[in-house]
Symmetry: C2
Subunit: 230 residues, 2 copies
Amino acid sequence: MRRRHVGRPRADGSRNEGHPRDEIIAVASRLFSEHGVARTTMSEIARRSGLRQSSVYYHFKDRDQILVEIVSVANRVILEHLERVTADGGSAAERLYRLLRFDARQMCRFAFDINEIYRLGALQDERFADFWNERQELNDAVAALIAEGIADGALREVDPTLTALVLLSNDEGTQNWFRSMGEFGQVGGEHYDPEDIATFVADLALAGLLRDRDEVDHLRARALELDPRD
Amino acid sequence: MRRRHVGRPRADGSRNEGHPRDEIIAVASRLFSEHGVARTTMSEIARRSGLRQSSVYYHFKDRDQILVEIVSVANRVILEHLERVTADGGSAAERLYRLLRFDARQMCRFAFDINEIYRLGALQDERFADFWNERQELNDAVAALIAEGIADGALREVDPTLTALVLLSNDEGTQNWFRSMGEFGQVGGEHYDPEDIATFVADLALAGLLRDRDEVDHLRARALELDPRD
DNA sequence: CCGACTTTCGATGAGCGTTAGAAAGTCCCT
DNA sequence: AGGGACTTTCTAACGCTCATCGAAAGTCGG
Protein backbone atom coordinates (compact mmCIF):
# COMPACT_ATOMS: atom_id res chain seq x y z
CA MET A 1 0.00 0.00 0.00
CA ARG A 2 1.54 3.30 -1.12
CA ARG A 3 0.83 6.62 0.53
CA ARG A 4 -0.80 9.09 -1.77
CA HIS A 5 1.05 12.34 -2.40
CA VAL A 6 2.68 13.11 0.85
CA GLY A 7 4.21 16.53 1.07
CA ARG A 8 3.23 19.94 -0.14
CA PRO A 9 1.26 19.98 -3.40
CA ARG A 10 2.90 21.35 -6.51
CA ALA A 11 2.32 24.88 -7.63
CA ASP A 12 1.09 23.84 -11.07
CA GLY A 13 -1.17 21.15 -9.61
CA SER A 14 0.62 18.34 -11.43
CA ARG A 15 0.98 15.01 -9.70
CA ASN A 16 3.50 12.34 -10.26
CA GLU A 17 2.84 8.64 -10.05
CA GLY A 18 6.06 6.91 -9.13
CA HIS A 19 9.14 8.64 -7.77
CA PRO A 20 9.84 12.21 -8.91
CA ARG A 21 13.48 11.12 -9.04
CA ASP A 22 12.72 8.92 -12.01
CA GLU A 23 10.75 11.63 -13.74
CA ILE A 24 13.63 14.07 -13.30
CA ILE A 25 16.14 11.53 -14.59
CA ALA A 26 14.00 10.92 -17.65
CA VAL A 27 13.50 14.60 -18.37
CA ALA A 28 17.14 15.49 -17.76
CA SER A 29 18.28 12.61 -19.90
CA ARG A 30 16.29 13.86 -22.85
CA LEU A 31 17.37 17.47 -22.40
CA PHE A 32 21.04 16.58 -21.95
CA SER A 33 20.73 14.55 -25.09
CA GLU A 34 19.04 17.25 -27.14
CA HIS A 35 20.93 20.33 -26.08
CA GLY A 36 24.02 18.95 -24.38
CA VAL A 37 24.74 18.96 -20.68
CA ALA A 38 26.35 22.37 -20.63
CA ARG A 39 23.37 24.11 -22.17
CA THR A 40 20.69 22.44 -20.09
CA THR A 41 19.52 24.46 -17.09
CA MET A 42 18.05 23.28 -13.83
CA SER A 43 15.07 25.56 -14.47
CA GLU A 44 14.33 23.73 -17.68
CA ILE A 45 14.62 20.34 -16.03
CA ALA A 46 12.37 21.49 -13.19
CA ARG A 47 9.81 23.07 -15.48
CA ARG A 48 9.43 19.94 -17.58
CA SER A 49 9.19 17.84 -14.44
CA GLY A 50 6.35 19.98 -13.13
CA LEU A 51 8.47 21.42 -10.36
CA ARG A 52 9.97 24.74 -9.36
CA GLN A 53 13.67 25.06 -9.89
CA SER A 54 14.73 24.70 -6.29
CA SER A 55 12.59 21.63 -5.70
CA VAL A 56 14.88 19.54 -7.84
CA TYR A 57 17.49 19.95 -5.13
CA TYR A 58 15.37 18.00 -2.73
CA HIS A 59 15.93 14.93 -4.88
CA PHE A 60 19.46 15.58 -6.13
CA LYS A 61 22.33 17.26 -4.38
CA ASP A 62 23.36 19.15 -7.50
CA ARG A 63 23.41 19.07 -11.30
CA ASP A 64 26.30 16.64 -11.55
CA GLN A 65 24.47 14.20 -9.31
CA ILE A 66 21.80 13.85 -11.98
CA LEU A 67 24.53 13.30 -14.53
CA VAL A 68 26.18 10.59 -12.49
CA GLU A 69 22.91 8.77 -12.13
CA ILE A 70 22.38 8.77 -15.88
CA VAL A 71 25.83 7.83 -17.04
CA SER A 72 26.27 5.03 -14.57
CA VAL A 73 23.68 3.23 -16.64
CA ALA A 74 25.92 3.34 -19.70
CA ASN A 75 28.73 1.24 -18.30
CA ARG A 76 26.31 -1.06 -16.56
CA VAL A 77 24.47 -1.97 -19.75
CA ILE A 78 27.72 -2.98 -21.40
CA LEU A 79 28.99 -4.85 -18.35
CA GLU A 80 25.73 -6.77 -18.31
CA HIS A 81 26.23 -7.67 -21.93
CA LEU A 82 29.75 -8.76 -21.08
CA GLU A 83 28.33 -11.21 -18.56
CA ARG A 84 25.91 -12.59 -21.10
CA VAL A 85 28.67 -12.95 -23.67
CA THR A 86 30.87 -14.69 -21.14
CA ALA A 87 28.06 -17.04 -20.21
CA ASP A 88 27.39 -17.89 -23.85
CA GLY A 89 30.99 -18.96 -24.25
CA GLY A 90 32.57 -19.24 -27.69
CA SER A 91 36.06 -18.25 -28.75
CA ALA A 92 37.74 -15.16 -27.34
CA ALA A 93 37.56 -13.54 -30.77
CA GLU A 94 33.84 -14.19 -30.97
CA ARG A 95 33.20 -12.70 -27.56
CA LEU A 96 35.35 -9.70 -28.42
CA TYR A 97 33.47 -9.11 -31.64
CA ARG A 98 30.13 -9.28 -29.88
CA LEU A 99 31.23 -6.92 -27.16
CA LEU A 100 32.65 -4.32 -29.53
CA ARG A 101 29.64 -4.39 -31.77
CA PHE A 102 27.26 -4.11 -28.85
CA ASP A 103 29.28 -1.28 -27.36
CA ALA A 104 29.32 0.71 -30.59
CA ARG A 105 25.62 0.20 -31.07
CA GLN A 106 24.96 1.21 -27.51
CA MET A 107 27.05 4.34 -27.94
CA CYS A 108 25.07 5.41 -30.98
CA ARG A 109 21.79 4.68 -29.30
CA PHE A 110 22.66 6.01 -25.90
CA ALA A 111 20.44 8.87 -24.91
CA PHE A 112 23.36 11.17 -24.55
CA ASP A 113 26.97 11.89 -24.95
CA ILE A 114 29.61 9.80 -23.23
CA ASN A 115 32.30 12.13 -24.44
CA GLU A 116 30.90 14.98 -22.46
CA ILE A 117 31.39 12.96 -19.30
CA TYR A 118 35.08 12.81 -19.94
CA ARG A 119 35.16 16.57 -19.88
CA LEU A 120 32.80 17.21 -17.02
CA GLY A 121 33.79 14.27 -14.90
CA ALA A 122 37.49 13.97 -15.45
CA LEU A 123 38.58 16.25 -12.68
CA GLN A 124 36.09 15.95 -9.89
CA ASP A 125 36.72 12.53 -8.55
CA GLU A 126 34.50 11.31 -5.73
CA ARG A 127 31.14 11.50 -7.39
CA PHE A 128 32.31 9.98 -10.66
CA ALA A 129 34.46 7.39 -8.93
CA ASP A 130 31.98 4.59 -9.57
CA PHE A 131 31.80 5.51 -13.22
CA TRP A 132 35.55 5.36 -13.67
CA ASN A 133 35.84 2.14 -11.72
CA GLU A 134 33.27 0.44 -13.90
CA ARG A 135 35.00 1.84 -16.95
CA GLN A 136 38.26 0.37 -15.75
CA GLU A 137 36.53 -2.94 -15.14
CA LEU A 138 35.28 -2.94 -18.72
CA ASN A 139 38.70 -2.08 -20.03
CA ASP A 140 40.33 -4.88 -18.06
CA ALA A 141 37.76 -7.34 -19.33
CA VAL A 142 38.43 -6.39 -22.96
CA ALA A 143 42.17 -6.56 -22.39
CA ALA A 144 41.73 -10.02 -20.91
CA LEU A 145 39.70 -11.10 -23.92
CA ILE A 146 42.41 -9.88 -26.26
CA ALA A 147 45.11 -11.61 -24.25
CA GLU A 148 43.12 -14.81 -24.41
CA GLY A 149 42.69 -14.46 -28.14
CA ILE A 150 46.42 -13.99 -28.57
CA ALA A 151 47.13 -17.00 -26.38
CA ASP A 152 44.86 -19.27 -28.38
CA GLY A 153 46.47 -18.09 -31.59
CA ALA A 154 43.45 -16.38 -33.10
CA LEU A 155 44.76 -12.84 -32.72
CA ARG A 156 47.98 -11.16 -33.72
CA GLU A 157 50.40 -10.24 -30.98
CA VAL A 158 49.46 -6.79 -29.75
CA ASP A 159 49.59 -5.02 -26.41
CA PRO A 160 46.28 -6.07 -24.82
CA THR A 161 45.87 -3.04 -22.57
CA LEU A 162 46.65 -0.49 -25.26
CA THR A 163 44.46 -2.29 -27.76
CA ALA A 164 41.55 -2.41 -25.33
CA LEU A 165 41.83 1.31 -24.72
CA VAL A 166 41.97 2.09 -28.40
CA LEU A 167 39.04 -0.16 -29.30
CA LEU A 168 36.77 1.20 -26.60
CA SER A 169 37.63 4.78 -27.40
CA ASN A 170 36.93 4.03 -31.04
CA ASP A 171 33.40 3.21 -30.06
CA GLU A 172 33.14 6.41 -28.14
CA GLY A 173 34.52 8.45 -30.98
CA THR A 174 31.91 6.95 -33.25
CA GLN A 175 29.23 8.54 -31.17
CA ASN A 176 30.60 11.97 -32.01
CA TRP A 177 29.82 12.01 -35.66
CA PHE A 178 26.82 9.76 -35.41
CA ARG A 179 25.11 12.24 -33.17
CA SER A 180 25.97 15.29 -35.24
CA MET A 181 24.86 13.36 -38.30
CA GLY A 182 21.46 13.00 -36.71
CA GLU A 183 21.23 16.72 -36.27
CA PHE A 184 22.46 17.66 -39.69
CA GLY A 185 20.57 14.88 -41.41
CA GLN A 186 23.31 13.04 -43.21
CA VAL A 187 27.00 13.01 -43.84
CA GLY A 188 28.18 13.33 -47.40
CA GLY A 189 24.72 12.52 -48.65
CA GLU A 190 24.83 9.02 -47.13
CA HIS A 191 22.74 7.72 -44.32
CA TYR A 192 24.00 5.17 -41.82
CA ASP A 193 22.13 3.57 -38.97
CA PRO A 194 23.57 2.32 -35.68
CA GLU A 195 23.46 -1.31 -36.79
CA ASP A 196 25.52 -0.69 -39.90
CA ILE A 197 28.01 1.43 -38.06
CA ALA A 198 28.41 -0.92 -35.12
CA THR A 199 28.85 -3.92 -37.37
CA PHE A 200 31.39 -2.10 -39.49
CA VAL A 201 33.37 -0.90 -36.48
CA ALA A 202 33.53 -4.42 -35.07
CA ASP A 203 34.45 -5.79 -38.51
CA LEU A 204 37.27 -3.33 -38.94
CA ALA A 205 38.65 -3.94 -35.45
CA LEU A 206 38.75 -7.71 -35.84
CA ALA A 207 39.98 -7.55 -39.41
CA GLY A 208 42.93 -5.70 -37.92
CA LEU A 209 43.45 -8.15 -35.07
CA LEU A 210 42.71 -11.63 -36.41
CA ARG A 211 45.49 -13.70 -37.85
CA ASP A 212 43.07 -15.31 -40.25
CA ARG A 213 40.94 -12.49 -41.53
CA ASP A 214 38.46 -14.71 -43.31
CA GLU A 215 37.24 -15.56 -39.82
CA VAL A 216 35.49 -12.17 -39.64
CA ASP A 217 32.53 -13.35 -41.74
CA HIS A 218 31.96 -16.17 -39.33
CA LEU A 219 32.18 -13.95 -36.27
CA ARG A 220 29.76 -11.46 -37.76
CA ALA A 221 27.28 -14.20 -38.54
CA ARG A 222 27.51 -15.52 -34.98
CA ALA A 223 27.08 -12.05 -33.50
CA LEU A 224 24.06 -11.22 -35.65
CA GLU A 225 22.55 -14.51 -34.57
CA LEU A 226 23.20 -14.09 -30.84
CA ASP A 227 22.60 -10.31 -30.61
CA PRO A 228 19.89 -9.62 -33.15
CA ARG A 229 18.59 -6.18 -33.94
CA ASP A 230 16.21 -5.41 -31.15
CA MET B 1 57.63 51.51 -36.30
CA ARG B 2 55.13 50.32 -33.71
CA ARG B 3 53.17 52.60 -31.46
CA ARG B 4 53.85 52.09 -27.81
CA HIS B 5 50.90 51.15 -25.64
CA VAL B 6 48.07 53.08 -27.08
CA GLY B 7 44.91 53.09 -25.01
CA ARG B 8 44.18 53.27 -21.35
CA PRO B 9 46.81 51.64 -19.13
CA ARG B 10 45.95 48.48 -17.29
CA ALA B 11 44.82 48.53 -13.71
CA ASP B 12 47.53 46.14 -12.58
CA GLY B 13 50.21 48.03 -14.48
CA SER B 14 51.09 45.05 -16.68
CA ARG B 15 52.05 45.68 -20.26
CA ASN B 16 51.83 43.37 -23.17
CA GLU B 17 54.31 43.22 -26.01
CA GLY B 18 52.54 41.91 -29.08
CA HIS B 19 48.79 41.76 -29.50
CA PRO B 20 46.67 41.09 -26.41
CA ARG B 21 44.59 38.85 -28.68
CA ASP B 22 47.45 36.39 -28.90
CA GLU B 23 48.05 36.51 -25.17
CA ILE B 24 44.37 35.79 -24.52
CA ILE B 25 44.37 32.91 -26.99
CA ALA B 26 47.42 31.42 -25.34
CA VAL B 27 46.01 31.77 -21.85
CA ALA B 28 42.56 30.49 -22.81
CA SER B 29 44.07 27.60 -24.67
CA ARG B 30 45.94 26.47 -21.59
CA LEU B 31 42.97 26.92 -19.29
CA PHE B 32 40.55 25.16 -21.62
CA SER B 33 43.05 22.37 -21.79
CA GLU B 34 43.57 22.09 -18.06
CA HIS B 35 40.05 22.51 -16.75
CA GLY B 36 37.90 22.02 -19.81
CA VAL B 37 35.98 24.68 -21.67
CA ALA B 38 32.89 24.49 -19.53
CA ARG B 39 34.74 25.12 -16.29
CA THR B 40 36.91 27.95 -17.52
CA THR B 41 35.58 31.42 -16.69
CA MET B 42 36.14 34.69 -18.47
CA SER B 43 37.36 36.15 -15.18
CA GLU B 44 40.11 33.55 -15.02
CA ILE B 45 41.12 34.17 -18.61
CA ALA B 46 41.14 37.90 -18.02
CA ARG B 47 43.05 37.69 -14.76
CA ARG B 48 45.82 35.59 -16.26
CA SER B 49 46.02 37.91 -19.22
CA GLY B 50 46.51 40.90 -16.94
CA LEU B 51 43.12 42.33 -17.78
CA ARG B 52 39.80 42.98 -16.08
CA GLN B 53 37.08 40.59 -16.99
CA SER B 54 35.14 42.83 -19.34
CA SER B 55 38.21 43.99 -21.23
CA VAL B 56 38.44 40.63 -22.94
CA TYR B 57 35.29 41.57 -24.81
CA TYR B 58 37.11 44.33 -26.61
CA HIS B 59 39.17 41.67 -28.38
CA PHE B 60 36.59 38.89 -28.70
CA LYS B 61 32.88 39.14 -29.25
CA ASP B 62 32.17 36.38 -26.74
CA ARG B 63 33.53 33.23 -25.15
CA ASP B 64 32.78 31.00 -28.13
CA GLN B 65 34.71 33.34 -30.38
CA ILE B 66 37.86 32.48 -28.48
CA LEU B 67 37.03 28.82 -28.86
CA VAL B 68 36.53 29.11 -32.61
CA GLU B 69 39.87 30.81 -32.96
CA ILE B 70 41.62 27.99 -31.13
CA VAL B 71 39.95 25.01 -32.71
CA SER B 72 40.25 26.26 -36.25
CA VAL B 73 43.94 25.61 -35.84
CA ALA B 74 43.32 21.91 -35.27
CA ASN B 75 41.83 21.13 -38.66
CA ARG B 76 44.27 23.42 -40.38
CA VAL B 77 47.33 21.63 -39.05
CA ILE B 78 46.05 18.34 -40.37
CA LEU B 79 44.96 19.78 -43.71
CA GLU B 80 48.46 21.21 -44.08
CA HIS B 81 49.90 17.80 -43.42
CA LEU B 82 47.53 16.39 -45.99
CA GLU B 83 48.99 18.74 -48.57
CA ARG B 84 52.49 17.71 -47.69
CA VAL B 85 51.57 14.05 -47.88
CA THR B 86 49.92 14.58 -51.24
CA ALA B 87 52.96 16.41 -52.53
CA ASP B 88 55.27 13.63 -51.36
CA GLY B 89 53.32 11.13 -53.42
CA GLY B 90 53.53 7.43 -52.70
CA SER B 91 50.76 4.87 -52.73
CA ALA B 92 47.29 5.69 -51.44
CA ALA B 93 47.81 3.30 -48.54
CA GLU B 94 51.05 5.01 -47.61
CA ARG B 95 49.45 8.45 -47.65
CA LEU B 96 46.51 7.16 -45.62
CA TYR B 97 48.81 5.66 -43.00
CA ARG B 98 50.77 8.87 -42.67
CA LEU B 99 47.64 10.96 -42.36
CA LEU B 100 46.04 8.75 -39.73
CA ARG B 101 49.17 8.55 -37.67
CA PHE B 102 49.73 12.28 -37.82
CA ASP B 103 46.11 12.93 -36.94
CA ALA B 104 46.20 10.67 -33.90
CA ARG B 105 49.45 12.19 -32.74
CA GLN B 106 48.07 15.65 -33.24
CA MET B 107 44.96 14.77 -31.25
CA CYS B 108 47.00 13.57 -28.30
CA ARG B 109 49.23 16.58 -28.42
CA PHE B 110 46.58 19.14 -29.14
CA ALA B 111 46.31 21.68 -26.38
CA PHE B 112 42.72 20.82 -25.77
CA ASP B 113 39.78 18.70 -26.41
CA ILE B 114 38.31 18.28 -29.86
CA ASN B 115 35.45 16.27 -28.45
CA GLU B 116 34.21 19.19 -26.48
CA ILE B 117 33.78 21.13 -29.69
CA TYR B 118 31.32 18.58 -30.92
CA ARG B 119 29.17 19.32 -27.90
CA LEU B 120 29.54 23.06 -27.75
CA GLY B 121 29.63 23.72 -31.43
CA ALA B 122 27.21 21.25 -32.86
CA LEU B 123 24.11 23.34 -32.51
CA GLN B 124 25.12 26.91 -33.10
CA ASP B 125 26.05 26.99 -36.71
CA GLU B 126 27.36 30.26 -38.14
CA ARG B 127 30.41 30.76 -36.00
CA PHE B 128 31.54 27.17 -36.24
CA ALA B 129 30.71 26.91 -39.94
CA ASP B 130 34.35 27.17 -41.00
CA PHE B 131 35.32 24.47 -38.57
CA TRP B 132 32.74 22.05 -39.91
CA ASN B 133 33.56 22.85 -43.51
CA GLU B 134 37.21 22.11 -42.95
CA ARG B 135 36.29 18.96 -41.11
CA GLN B 136 34.18 17.87 -44.07
CA GLU B 137 37.05 18.68 -46.38
CA LEU B 138 39.32 16.42 -44.35
CA ASN B 139 36.77 13.66 -44.36
CA ASP B 140 36.33 13.87 -48.12
CA ALA B 141 40.07 13.72 -48.58
CA VAL B 142 40.39 10.59 -46.47
CA ALA B 143 37.44 8.99 -48.25
CA ALA B 144 39.10 9.76 -51.57
CA LEU B 145 42.33 8.19 -50.37
CA ILE B 146 40.50 5.05 -49.35
CA ALA B 147 38.65 4.90 -52.66
CA GLU B 148 41.96 5.23 -54.47
CA GLY B 149 43.47 2.47 -52.38
CA ILE B 150 40.56 0.20 -53.20
CA ALA B 151 40.83 1.02 -56.89
CA ASP B 152 44.52 0.18 -57.04
CA GLY B 153 43.87 -3.07 -55.26
CA ALA B 154 45.78 -2.35 -52.05
CA LEU B 155 42.74 -2.08 -49.80
CA ARG B 156 39.75 -4.32 -49.20
CA GLU B 157 36.42 -3.21 -50.57
CA VAL B 158 34.80 -1.03 -47.91
CA ASP B 159 32.50 1.98 -47.98
CA PRO B 160 34.99 4.86 -48.31
CA THR B 161 32.82 7.51 -46.68
CA LEU B 162 31.83 5.37 -43.70
CA THR B 163 35.39 4.18 -43.24
CA ALA B 164 36.74 7.71 -43.34
CA LEU B 165 34.27 8.78 -40.66
CA VAL B 166 35.13 5.85 -38.45
CA LEU B 167 38.88 6.27 -38.81
CA LEU B 168 38.85 9.98 -38.06
CA SER B 169 36.55 9.55 -35.10
CA ASN B 170 38.84 6.81 -33.84
CA ASP B 171 41.59 9.38 -33.63
CA GLU B 172 39.32 11.72 -31.76
CA GLY B 173 38.23 9.02 -29.37
CA THR B 174 41.85 8.32 -28.62
CA GLN B 175 42.21 11.78 -27.22
CA ASN B 176 39.62 11.00 -24.56
CA TRP B 177 41.55 8.47 -22.62
CA PHE B 178 44.94 9.85 -23.46
CA ARG B 179 44.03 13.10 -21.79
CA SER B 180 42.49 11.54 -18.72
CA MET B 181 45.51 9.27 -18.52
CA GLY B 182 47.69 12.32 -18.29
CA GLU B 183 45.67 13.58 -15.37
CA PHE B 184 45.50 10.33 -13.51
CA GLY B 185 49.06 9.34 -14.28
CA GLN B 186 48.68 6.04 -16.05
CA VAL B 187 46.16 3.52 -17.17
CA GLY B 188 46.42 0.05 -15.77
CA GLY B 189 49.94 0.73 -14.59
CA GLU B 190 51.20 1.22 -18.14
CA HIS B 191 52.43 4.41 -19.68
CA TYR B 192 51.97 5.25 -23.34
CA ASP B 193 53.18 8.29 -25.20
CA PRO B 194 51.54 9.94 -28.22
CA GLU B 195 54.02 8.40 -30.65
CA ASP B 196 53.29 4.85 -29.54
CA ILE B 197 49.56 5.42 -29.53
CA ALA B 198 49.46 7.14 -32.91
CA THR B 199 51.59 4.49 -34.54
CA PHE B 200 49.48 1.72 -33.05
CA VAL B 201 46.22 3.35 -34.15
CA ALA B 202 47.48 3.72 -37.71
CA ASP B 203 48.82 0.15 -37.65
CA LEU B 204 45.51 -1.26 -36.50
CA ALA B 205 43.52 0.72 -39.05
CA LEU B 206 45.62 -0.39 -41.99
CA ALA B 207 45.93 -3.93 -40.75
CA GLY B 208 42.16 -3.97 -41.01
CA LEU B 209 42.03 -2.37 -44.45
CA LEU B 210 44.98 -3.74 -46.43
CA ARG B 211 44.55 -6.83 -48.52
CA ASP B 212 48.14 -7.79 -47.87
CA ARG B 213 48.67 -7.13 -44.21
CA ASP B 214 52.42 -7.68 -44.33
CA GLU B 215 52.50 -4.34 -46.11
CA VAL B 216 51.93 -2.57 -42.75
CA ASP B 217 55.56 -2.90 -41.69
CA HIS B 218 56.64 -1.17 -44.86
CA LEU B 219 54.12 1.64 -44.46
CA ARG B 220 55.15 2.20 -40.86
CA ALA B 221 58.79 2.38 -41.83
CA ARG B 222 58.04 4.92 -44.56
CA ALA B 223 55.92 7.03 -42.21
CA LEU B 224 58.54 7.07 -39.47
CA GLU B 225 61.07 8.13 -42.07
CA LEU B 226 58.96 10.91 -43.61
CA ASP B 227 57.29 12.17 -40.41
CA PRO B 228 59.90 11.68 -37.71
CA ARG B 229 59.28 12.42 -34.07
CA ASP B 230 59.63 16.14 -33.78
C1' DC C 1 -7.07 16.57 16.64
C1' DC C 2 -2.14 17.05 17.03
C1' DG C 3 2.74 16.38 16.33
C1' DA C 4 6.05 14.21 13.08
C1' DC C 5 7.33 13.61 8.57
C1' DT C 6 7.58 14.47 3.52
C1' DT C 7 7.72 17.22 -0.32
C1' DT C 8 7.41 21.61 -2.48
C1' DC C 9 7.63 26.47 -2.45
C1' DG C 10 9.41 31.41 -2.49
C1' DA C 11 13.07 34.33 -1.40
C1' DT C 12 17.78 35.03 -1.54
C1' DG C 13 22.86 35.16 -2.60
C1' DA C 14 27.11 34.48 -5.02
C1' DG C 15 29.00 33.96 -9.51
C1' DC C 16 28.76 33.90 -14.42
C1' DG C 17 28.74 36.07 -19.35
C1' DT C 18 27.81 40.17 -21.46
C1' DT C 19 26.79 45.21 -22.45
C1' DA C 20 27.31 50.25 -21.97
C1' DG C 21 29.55 54.24 -21.22
C1' DA C 22 33.24 56.70 -19.03
C1' DA C 23 38.28 57.17 -18.56
C1' DA C 24 43.16 57.30 -19.64
C1' DG C 25 46.40 57.04 -22.46
C1' DT C 26 48.86 57.79 -27.59
C1' DC C 27 48.80 59.78 -32.19
C1' DC C 28 48.39 63.24 -35.63
C1' DC C 29 47.29 67.63 -37.51
C1' DT C 30 47.46 72.43 -37.27
C1' DA D 1 52.18 73.31 -28.08
C1' DG D 2 47.33 72.34 -28.05
C1' DG D 3 43.35 69.80 -29.20
C1' DG D 4 40.53 66.39 -31.38
C1' DA D 5 40.39 61.54 -32.90
C1' DC D 6 41.46 57.04 -31.93
C1' DT D 7 42.64 52.97 -29.10
C1' DT D 8 42.45 50.28 -25.25
C1' DT D 9 41.07 49.57 -20.71
C1' DC D 10 38.27 50.47 -16.90
C1' DT D 11 34.02 50.51 -13.63
C1' DA D 12 29.21 49.71 -13.14
C1' DA D 13 25.34 47.33 -14.13
C1' DC D 14 21.92 43.68 -15.92
C1' DG D 15 19.91 39.26 -16.37
C1' DC D 16 20.59 34.55 -15.85
C1' DT D 17 22.44 30.45 -13.53
C1' DC D 18 23.20 27.05 -9.65
C1' DA D 19 22.53 26.38 -5.01
C1' DT D 20 20.86 27.19 -0.02
C1' DC D 21 17.44 28.27 3.49
C1' DG D 22 13.46 28.44 6.17
C1' DA D 23 8.61 28.45 5.72
C1' DA D 24 4.45 26.20 3.98
C1' DA D 25 1.16 22.64 2.73
C1' DG D 26 -0.08 18.50 2.56
C1' DT D 27 -0.26 13.10 4.56
C1' DC D 28 0.34 9.76 8.30
C1' DG D 29 0.00 7.56 12.89
C1' DG D 30 -1.47 7.77 17.49
